[in-house]
Each structure stands twice: as C-alpha cells, then as structure tokens.
Amino acid sequence: MPVQYAGVIEEHHAVRKQAGLFDGCHMGEFLFQGAGAPSYLQHITANDISRLVDGQAQYSLLCNENGGIVDDIIVYRRGPEDFLMVVNAANIDKDWAWVQNHKIEKVTLKNISDETALIALQGPAAVSILEKIAKAPVATLSSFHFAKTDIGPVPNCTAARTGYTGEDGFEIFCATAQAPALWQALLEAGKSEGIKPAGLGARDTLRLEACLSLYGHELTDETNPMEAGVGWVVKWDKTDFIGKKALTMIREKGLTRKRVGFTMTDKGIAREGSSVFLQDRPVGMVTSGSYSPTLEKPIGLAYVPLQITNIGDTFHVDIRKNLRLAEVVKTPFYKRR
C-alpha cells in the first residue's frame, strides 16, 4: 500500500464524506481448525471466543506471560471448529511463531497470508457501493459480522463489517490472484459516489482521529491492555489464558501510566517518539502524532503518568528541542454520527 495516491488530506476527507478503498494485502491471515480450535483460541487470546457465533468477528489481543501485547488481532468464527485470525503485517512472523509454540492437540494451524488478499472499503457510502455488486445482502450485516459473497467478477469473497478508520465499511477477503479484479470492480462501482483509493498516510490520520491503536505505537510487547486503553478486551471471568496471571496482578497493583489523547496549545505537531515533560522532567512518550484533517489541528496519543490523565490537564512535549504546551482532551477525537 503506498503512502498516498492523490494526497493524504484529500483521501482522508473522501473516507469521512464518501468512500475510500485501501489495499490491505500486507495483513496476515491464519486459520485455526479442528475440535481443539475453540479451546486453543480461548487460551491464546484475551477476549472470550465463546461469545462468538458463526459469521461473527471479535477484536482481541495476543498477550505474553508478562501481560504485554504480542499483537492486536481480529478473530472470525467461520464454523464451530473453524476460525480465521487477521494479524498485523509487521507481526506475521512473530505471531506465527507464537501460535505454533503454544499449539495444543487437535488443532491445525495454517498461515494463508500469501494467498489471501484484503481490501477495505470504508466510508458512509461503503454500503451502497458494495450492495451494487455483491451477490449476497451486505447492507443487513451487523457490525463485526461477515458473510461469503461473490463481488462483481470475483467469486468466494468474504465481506466483513469491520474497519480501521472510524467509519462504516467493510473489509473484504479474496484470493490474492483475484485482488486486482476486486479492486477495479469496487472502484468502478463507487465512481458515482466519489470513491478514492487511499494510502497508508490517510489510514494513519483516520485511525488516529478514531483513537484506534496501532501496533508498534500504542501497543507493544511492553505495554499492557489496561494502560493502552484496550482493557475492555480482557475478559477476566473466562477460563485461564496466556498473560491472565500477570494482568490480574497489574490490575490489583494499579496502573502507573495511561494512554491519553491530546491537542497542542502551542504551535507545532508532536510526533511519535517525542518526550512528554512535566515541570521540565521527562515523564512520558508520544506514541502517535499528526495533523487531524477533520479537526484541522494537531492531535496525538501519549503515555503519561496517572496524575495528568484528566481532561484539561496540561504537559509539555519536546518538539525539536522546544518544549510546547499540550492539553489532554476527550477521546476519540472523532466519532461518526
């Protein structure tokens, strides 16, 4: 996926107002099949697999024994003993080694990343565009549900009502060889709605406005779900899972820092890696920072000590060796109406 096609801001607005098309073919896909698949997934993921029915998906986390995050993922239940997991592109090798290392009896693992393509159609016009060329009814799919369907000239696609932009839309899987045909068909179908191809740059500003975490930024092997703001994923009352013991201890001891959203009071854009200062002392780190095309001002996410996590709290950010004032604000920065 390129950083941009027509320009980040133009693509960003297209997704917020009409529709954008993202090439997600770099994402990783693993299959988990067999009688042991449900209990295996229950053991390696922090969310509760037993809540899923066929055709339903779930945002979840792979945690390590220390409660850190190996990856954030989506698990799709295709059948009672048949699950698909979508993982981050940069983590495919790490995750594949992780799931194999924790393998149990009666589950077959398959890495289908190479032969599986993912194209995301996102924006308020996504439903009407996909409806035109999808054989199965897609408008009635609820959020985090999916269905098999032919789309235009491409048979056997899976359309899921999921996304990474804060807008309504679909993530569509097909065979890699068919991806160019699917891409073209969707662009063609969305012409009258003003669909635009969108790149990594717009994906980043869109997900940041919606406060969706990005692995390697807000989420790492060293951050725990509660401080990262994805503590809701962890289901404490389900059976034992990797990391539960450490996470329980962290929860009992209490957090030392939290991820907050901020805007700049002073000039400048805080970028990933900028230090957060409180009374001239470095106390935290910016994990994502950019200009928000929707709000037309700089926004960012940072890990800060608990004492400055309330809305209206202020701190300084080091922007090219100048300390600039920032203010904690309500998140998400953008919420779809």
């Binding site: 950083v3 941009q4 320009g7 801001i9 740059g201 095309p293």
Partner: protein
C-alpha cells in the same frame, strides 16, 4: 514539474531569487511534492541572522517534517506571515505566493555555489530515479 530559470537551487531543494541585495527563499516544487499536504510552517523573526547551510525554519506536512536550510548568510528583512494561517500556499504556489523569507545577503558570491535551473532539474531526475 517547473524549474523557473530566474532562480538558483540547493541540493536540499530550496530556491533563491536575488534582487539587488535581497534574496527571497522558498522550497521547490519537488520538495513540496515530496512532503505532501503542508499544514504548518515555522519561520524565524525579522532581524534574525541566517548562516549559510544552517536550518532556519521548518515545513511540516501531515506525514513528515523537514528543516529548511539557508543557502546564504544574511539578515531577515521580511517573513511570509500569510503562511501561518494557510501553509498549503506552499503546495499551491511554491515559487511565488508560497515564498518563506527575504534576506539581506552579506556575500552575493555564496550564490555562485548553487545550481541553475538546468543543473537542478538534472539533480532532481537523478534523485527520483
């Protein structure tokens, strides 16, 4: 891509237009295209001294931030304040309305080291390939 022939160019993709003793500085079309949508420009104050090859300002797009280097030594006489509210002028018209600062140069000979439009065009083609 445009390479006006009345300008001199740097390897950091700035341009200079000299009129008498006053040089106008900006970034080139190639530079603004590489940066993408420019949302923020940080410039020095009038009266500040610039050193040749030292950074004097910052141009920031949605996806990247870039220092701007002065190709000349001298004193700032004027700053393009309109960019504070409309930084995207640099994208739209980098050689005219999107200029950054004007400098009273102390040594015009410093401009001899810079590229003319033909040399710069060849330089950009090499960078892009």
């Amino acid at each position: 891509m445009e390479f006006p022939d009345n300008l001199k160019y740097t390897t950091e993709h700035e341009w200079v237009r000299l009129k008498g003793n006053v040089a106008t500085l900006g970034i080139t079309e190639y530079a603004q295209e590489q940066l993408g949508d420019i949302v923020y420009v940080e410039l020095p104050e009038v009266g500040q001294e610039l050193e040749k090859d030292e950074p004097f300002g910052v141009v920031e797009s949605v996806k990247a931030v870039s220092d701007v280097y002065s190709p000349v030594t001298g004193k700032i006489t004027e700053v393009n304040d309109s960019l504070t509210d409309s930084a995207d002028t640099v994208n739209e018209d980098c050689y005219e309305e999107g200029w950054l600062v004007r400098v009273e140069v102390s040594n015009k000979k410093e401009l001899d080291d810079l590229m003319d439009n033909k040399e710069y065009e060849a330089f950009v083609k090499e960078q892009a390939s």
